[in-house]
């Protein structure tokens, strides 16, 4: 079977699964639940992520305007977006506001780890592909995987610190 078709099929199955999980979650638990302190923390995290995205995007585009960036401005802008997402996630984790109250952190970490492995495998396959146009996609796959590494590492470190807290 063609690998491309296999990848598309895997993507469709993954998206369908994620959609069904989201619907089930919405029906049974009323979606993610955050308390007032977590909502305030998420507000600060969204702010930090948004300004990071804004500044990083501006730097990329000004730089590209002055002297063209290697690979064009698109991958650098995607990188700026990923940086914004990472800053949001780490700030939210710092304020205990990334994983909702009704979420299971262990399940979240397991899913994150699987996602990292999937992104690393797809990224490496694309990076060493015979078709040069797929290499940029490979770099983007690896970048998304790296953002997840940061999120999972921040969650693990935060959980370790929280366990040390005296009750």
């Amino acid at each position: 079977m063609n690998y491309y078709l296999l990848g598309v099929l895997f993507g469709i199955v993954f998206a369908l699964g994620a959609f069904l999980v989201a619907i089930r979650k919405k029906r049974h638990s009323g979606g993610c639940k955050y308390d007032e302190r977590q909502m305030a923390g998420r507000g600060k995290a969204f702010q930090a992520g948004f300004f990071t995205l804004l500044i990083a995007g501006a730097v990329c585009n000004i730089w590209d305007y002055a002297s063209p960036l290697p690979g064009g401005s698109f991958p650098w802008n995607v990188g700026a977006m990923l940086l914004g997402v990472a800053v949001f996630a780490v700030t939210a984790i710092h304020f205990d506001a990334y994983v909702a109250m009704n979420d299971n952190p262990r399940r979240f970490l397991t899913m994150g780890s699987f996602f990292i492995i999937a992104m690393a495998m797809t990224g490496l396959a694309n990076l060493y592909s015979d078709r040069p146009e797929r290499r940029m996609i490979g770099i983007l796959n690896l970048s998304v995987g790296f953002v997840w590494v940061i999120i999972v590492a921040a969650l693990l470190l935060h959980r370790r610190g929280a366990k040390k807290e005296e009750e």
């Binding site: 308390d35 007032e36 302190r37 977590q38 205990d96 109250m101 929280a162 807290e165 009750e167």
Partner: protein, 64 residues
């Protein structure tokens, strides 16, 4: 400033931070942050905590 009165009232009722958090509908970390003085709760949450512990606002949150 640490809220030792809240901690004492919770301990007097033999409630863990997790149990109190579940009663008032917040995370355990939020109760911990209030006790450590790292977070100023809204009046709504203060009232919920007072109802759960059978205390008045003055008894738990008034600073002399």
């Amino acid at each position: 400033m640490k809220n030792l009165r809240l901690k004492a009232a919770r301990a007097a009722m033999d409630l863990s931070q997790e149990a109190l958090a579940q009663q008032v509908g917040v995370s355990r970390q939020t109760i911990n942050a209030i006790e450590k003085g790292d977070y100023n709760p809204t009046i709504r949450l203060c009232l919920a905590i007072c109802h759960a512990l059978g205390k008045t606002l003055d008894e738990l949150f008034w600073e002399e």
